[in-house]
Point group: D2
């Protein structure tokens, strides 16, 4: 295998996250370092189907390590979900004499790569890029650490105004079906309560907790709500419910939204992206395929795609306890 | 008058804004500098009614120049809108032997101060503190410059993700009935369109503009919407309308919300607050009353409260033209 | 004149500053808006001499409004200071059929443009780009506001560690021969003393001021020193002197250095750059030449190059007084 | 032991770092949670000797989780290095009926705690707080992650100006005798070369590397130099040497200095501090003493003080290789 890989493609797929550009840079430069050619694929699998490739060298990726988003653009491709679409993608790769690809994205992107690998026996590697940290096989996905800082800084700002008035804020944060972001920013921003999908607090206990917080002398409160949490139908209904049942607070809602996905990556994410890119390319060179690169115990690690896709990324339950203690 | 003022109170009222703490610090230290006693009033006019005063000295305000929010807290007081409420406030001030007050806030706060002054012939001065920049008599209100930077940084982050996909974002920003924030951040963040209350673009021209932007080769677009704009009933309905009439874009909405009110003040706001605090106290010492301190042509200036309250803070129409040119 | 200008060149010259890219973008797009061709000149006057031009359109400048530095690069050119060098530059411009240029830079750059204009009667306009704010004819140069925020944030960080120990910090900031940056960040960061070239405090009064500050109960002190200040031979000798004469403090020095020149421009600088670019191009179109665009009383203004170059940019003496009061 | 601990003291010692306040808050609130009294000790061991204690409750530590520095102040104490000093400290603790203390600091602080524990059999626990990450027994010290981001953002700014001119920058970063900060920010900021104490590159190879970098088409270069690196006598002499031997670059030096120690802690550091505080207090409650709390494999861990003090914190050699590949 080692000798058969001469040209490697790299693409970003699914939602973008900070650190994707640093990972692209790393894949490209590792290819150059090992004497491989590297091609960027624009707009994810859709661009692969359309043969939207561009040859990249070490200089093509200069000045992007600190940029959010992805210079290769990203997209969701319905066509790649069909056999015909994948066949077109394979044909385009073959036509360009590309021997392997590295996909930077989330579990949907890895499922696509896994099926593609099964169908065409085409060497593929994955790098987990999503702010949600919802992927099994790595303690950190690219962009997660950056998003934590972005959200904590935003909540710090909200805290300024909350504590100047007598206010309770529900702050909705991203994270899809998992509570990683909510739990960590909740602890990091000193939230009075954290609502995550992994734990059903219940409306009664929420009210009780808010009343206790008020009685303990706090003049303002922040409740961090994971977007995947189901305690209320949504955060605005939660607000209505609490306002109906508590008169102690003026209640406000803030949905932080897409700014959480952007921004210059943190040092951690830039370093992680650099390490993952090297690992992905060098794993391909040693004949490995169908794996996701991950971080485990501070070292690079490989997880087979089927495990990465099926597995569950679990939140740190110790943190829930820490949060309970901190909000005394 | 000069000799009659020995004790000055300072309060923050209405919505908080970055720079209020720097202004409190300045009022306190200017009092100390001139041998006056200074009292902080907690929770705005409501705290004044309740006699919630605290003596402050130069050290009381250390370490707050760079903090968002207001250490004196703020509140809206229904009671102060009544003659009885104001009488109580006057009694509380008299009991504490306070001779004058400086109120940091918006036009509602100044109206209150003006009426109070008329009723009790009590010396009052105002410092404009609001991110909205909607006050006549000053080119900049405290917190406005900071908010511009906060919003521009947030839109930069949204731009990262917008340009990685094929997306149109409607970003709603604060500003009450005026378009100052929207217009400036729109130009500063390179928005493709800016919707402000001062200009009725109309839905047809918005669609036309977005189509032209798309055709000119832009892969993503940001539209900044002032909260006071009335083009759609609200920004979510605007989204629905555009999605119905354009298929070229995936449309997303982001309501930046209360994070715009917080954060460490910019250097400009800290310096402005320091200047305004000095001007407010020294104006009282020269016998002036019933004025708002403002910035005009980079110099400190005074505007009578009745003008400040009745006047209109106008947006810079030149900027609208600059925006049109920039989005070619 | 209006009809004779068809092609406009734009260049950045001298030290770079945040907002230069936003100004380049504005010049290019204003040209496109008015049906003119626009050429970017790389590496300032040196690139002009070498004919290092590139045609730019509206899309060439996308995504740069929020980037520090200058995409056109900058350089200092010895050759342009000679008649021969300027002749070469003129020949290169003529060969490319360029009719006018806009130079973004400081007083050295404007002197060059003025001489060039005199020698070849070639239409030129200037946009003031420098963090130092040392140019006559504008209250703000591009990058100045950004630098103030960068420096204030850095000093806030230094304050964290200074106030955790018993320390006196001398923080040297940029500004060439003027004290604009030092004075404003000194007030904005709550410095205990500000040393600027415009005011000779003297070593004795500095010591006296530091002792008074110590006695007033301050546990730490920040002294902001303008790089152009001459109180000590340099900031390290100043440290030695103070350590010799005061035992109350552990003294530390921090020279902030070139990070002050970089970073994403503030909203203010982006808007100012956009306005200045429009004004520069449209002034050329109305037949004006040999002027610098500036900001006066919040409006765009023109100052003849010879005045801009000879004039003195004065610091706001009111601020010195505000600083004295604040450090009580 | 469990029953004997009723009052716990907490102090910060040595150099301060971001996250110390979050750790203080966590120790205090964990004490309250478990029904213990908690006392803050001001100015480290010196304050302990002087009995400078203050009772703290849950509200005493509100609003500090996001603040840099330490509200308890820090100091280095010569007196505590003597038997007499430690005896005085013990007497002061006994007089205040304090049963145990948690010290937040670096290896010097832990050595002091260890000796104190040996002499008086007094329960002590340590929390590693230093930006240098130079402590054995934890993958991350408090403040390290924050410092990485602070430094990377500063270098990003320097890169703006470096790449606008033709410049080589030597950027000196903190880290005492280890290269953790330099290595990570070097990779994270895309430095062309990284000089750390753990690897002796040699001046010849540095020049060679810089020449290769120049030839590969890079117009500017950043070299990150750890303060503990010994390749030149110091970074200014390094600059002189390179300028003498290479004409290709204008060389500049930036010593980032003490701003690296300050700033609002990152989300990671706030969460880590919260976890460590809980672990420290609860370990004391289970009868443990003389340990440092650490992070290993993303879980809380204990390391005996003698190991923490004697051990060596090793840099990740994989990262050196990643850096080599990235700078191709």
């Amino acid at each position: 295998m080692l000798n058969t890989i001469k040209k490697v493609a790299v693409l970003t797929s699914g939602g973008d996250s900070p650190g994707m550009n640093a990972a692209i840079r790393s894949v490209v430069r590792t290819c150059v370092f090992h004497g491989l050619e590297c091609y960027g694929v624009y707009r994810g699998y859709q661009g692969m189907i359309e043969g939207d490739f561009e040859k990249m060298d070490a200089r093509s990726v200069k000045g992007i390590i600190n940029k959010g988003g992805t210079v290769l653009k990203s997209a969701r491709s319905q066509e790649f979900r069909t056999k015909e679409g994948r066949q077109k993608a394979y044909d385009a790769l073959k036509k360009a004499e590309i021997d392997a690809f590295v996909v930077i994205g989330g579990d949907g992107s890895f499922t696509g790569a896994m099926i593609f690998n099964q169908e065409f026996n085409f060497p593929v590697m994955g790098i987990p890029g999503t702010i949600d940290n919802d992927i099994f096989g790595t303690t950190h996905t690219l962009g997660y650490d950056t998003a934590l800082n972005t959200v904590v800084e935003a909540i710090d700002k909200i805290r300024d105004t909350a504590s100047s008035h007598n206010r309770l804020f529900f702050v909705e944060v991203m994270g899809r079906d998992v509570g990683h972001i909510a739990l960590n920013v909740g602890v990091g921003a000193g939230a009075e309560e954290i609502l995550i999908p992994e734990e059903d607090l219940g409306l009664d206990r929420l009210l009780e907790s808010l009343r206790r917080s008020k009685q303990s002398g706090k003049s303002s409160s922040i409740v961090v709500v994971a977007e995947g949490d189901k305690i209320g139908k949504n955060v605005f209904e939660l607000k209505d419910y609490v306002e109906e049942h508590m008169e102690e607070y003026e209640v406000r809602v803030s949905v932080l939204g897409h700014m959480q996905r952007g921004g210059s990556p943190s040092c951690f994410d830039r370093v992680l992206a650099s390490r993952m890119g090297v690992k992905a390319v060098e794993s391909l060179l040693t004949g490995k395929s169908n794996y996701m690169v991950g971080l485990k115990n501070d070292a690079m690690d490989l997880t087979p795609f089927d495990q990465a896709v099926k597995g569950k990324s679990k939140i740190n339950m110790e943190l829930l306890r820490v949060s309970d203690i901190m909000t005394i």
